[in-house]
Amino acid sequence: MKIEIQNLKKKFNKNYVLKDISLTIEKNKSTIILGQSGCGKSVLIKTIYQLFKIDSGSILYDGKSEVDIDKFSMLFQYGALFDSLKISENIAFTDYINNKTNFHKKVFSLMNDVGLDKSIFDRYPSEISGGMKKRVAFARALYKNPKVIFLDEPTTGLDPINSDKINDLILKVITKRKVTAVSITHDIKSAIRTGDNYYFIHDGIIKDKGDCKKILKTKNKIFKAFIDGADLKY
């Protein structure tokens, strides 16, 4: 699914978080949204997902303004797993709450795809590690075979080894399942590894865009400062 955003503005109370965003998310490509904390990255993907209403501008999904959000899924920053449900019930949530019981085979297959051991099938989220939670959340996001998957800082809070594993997983999923991916990250290494093209947001505006493989060659001063780890003031 191709998503085109034109002059998007979004405010909370009187503060504009997204001031004027125009970008295109290409079908079956991996688009990376980069930027410092608080620049509006999460608000942007939640607005594309229609979790927030837009204040002005437009979002077109394959040329149409309306979309069935069942075609989307999201991996949240900290997993957002449901504490009171078992791992299997979390992954197959949509079937579980509709009293369908034949989801075990599909859950096992997804657990295998994301590298989870079958032994955690009946455990609760509080009984597994942070890395495992991310994988479970990833499996839940894949359960409904989405056309577009949104990844909100997929490697945040993980050690370098687990970060690499999650990045490999993202790559595997994008190529194997042919989905459109939109990832938010601070992590330049992840962006280069998993992305096709990138957009750099600063203070609610897109300051730079381009090919992920050429991120380090950017000429944009603010983006360069961001890559170098400088504290960017709004």
């Binding site: 939640k46 979790l51 999201m74 900290y78 009293n99």
Partner: protein, 255 residues
């Protein structure tokens, strides 16, 4: 100038919250009759609320009945009207103390837990996750809790009434020297279905108040640990005040 601005801001916040709360109730009734009804979820919450509340309900009932008998004796013995104690115990419990004390205890026990649970779900993006999974949070979170508590509270009040009367009986017979058969006969004689039903009606109203206020406090909480704490406090304080104030109007209704 700053003071007037602050007063104005507080008023705007107050009325905006009131408006949001009224809309929340309207949406609750709207989604109550929409087809998605998670029966398993409803049953789970009813069981959870019921089992977790029984001990405090029993303790509330027994001590209220015991104290009521002792205090009534202190007053009535001054003009030789001790025989009215069984009547006073059963009437006070069924019409007033049963529903009000149960409501206050349940708002502290269950209301706070509902608000904290939903506020934590909000902070950890579980509410957003529900939306992304195309699940209406009114149907999945609000309806089961409101229905369970609204249905459970009349049962709790019936238990408090019964256990309270037994508490009064224990104190009256074993501490104040009443005849056991006479005490029970007086209680049954004086027990009126109308009195009991007025208490049950109050319980239904209080159950609805506690659950809807707690769900609202959780869903519209601020972010972070402070938000969860405030949501819990608001749920208990607001529902307790609403229980006490609505109790007057409901009592007028059944007067």
């Amino acid at each position: 100038m700053k003071l007037i601005e602050n007063i104005g801001n507080i008023q705007i916040k107050l009325f905006s919250n009131l408006g949001k709360f009224i809309l929340f109730i309207i949406f609750f009734f709207r989604y109550l009759f929409k087809p998605k009804f998670y029966f398993k979820n409803n049953l789970y919450y009813f069981g959870k609320i019921f089992i977790s509340s029984i001990p405090i309900i029993a303790l509330t009932g027994i001590f209220s009945g015991m104290v009521l008998a002792l205090q009534s004796y202190t007053g009535f013995s001054r003009f030789s009207a001790e025989s009215a104690i069984p009547n006073i115990v059963v009437l006070t419990l069924t019409r007033e103390l049963g529903p009000v004390l149960t409501g206050l205890m349940i708002s502290a026990r269950v209301g706070s837990s509902i608000a904290a649970e939903i506020a934590t779900m909000k902070v950890t993006e579980q509410i957003d996750a529900l939306k992304t999974l195309n699940t209406n949070y009114y149907n999945y979170l609000v309806t089961p809790r409101v229905l369970s508590l609204t249905l459970a509270l009349p049962i709790f009040v019936t238990l408090v009434d019964f256990i309270g009367v037994m508490g009064g009986y224990l104190v009256s017979v074993h501490r104040l020297g009443f005849d056991d058969n006479l005490y029970l006969l007086n209680t049954l004689d004086f027990l009126n279905l109308g009195d009991y039903l007025s208490g049950v009606f109050k319980a239904i109203a209080f159950g609805f108040i506690i659950s809807i206020v707690s769900c609202y406090s959780g869903l519209f909480s601020d972010k972070g640990a402070f938000g969860v704490g405030s949501a819990t406090t608001n749920a208990v304080v607001v529902s307790s005040i609403l229980i006490l104030s609505s109790n007057y109007f409901l009592t007028e209704l059944f007067f």
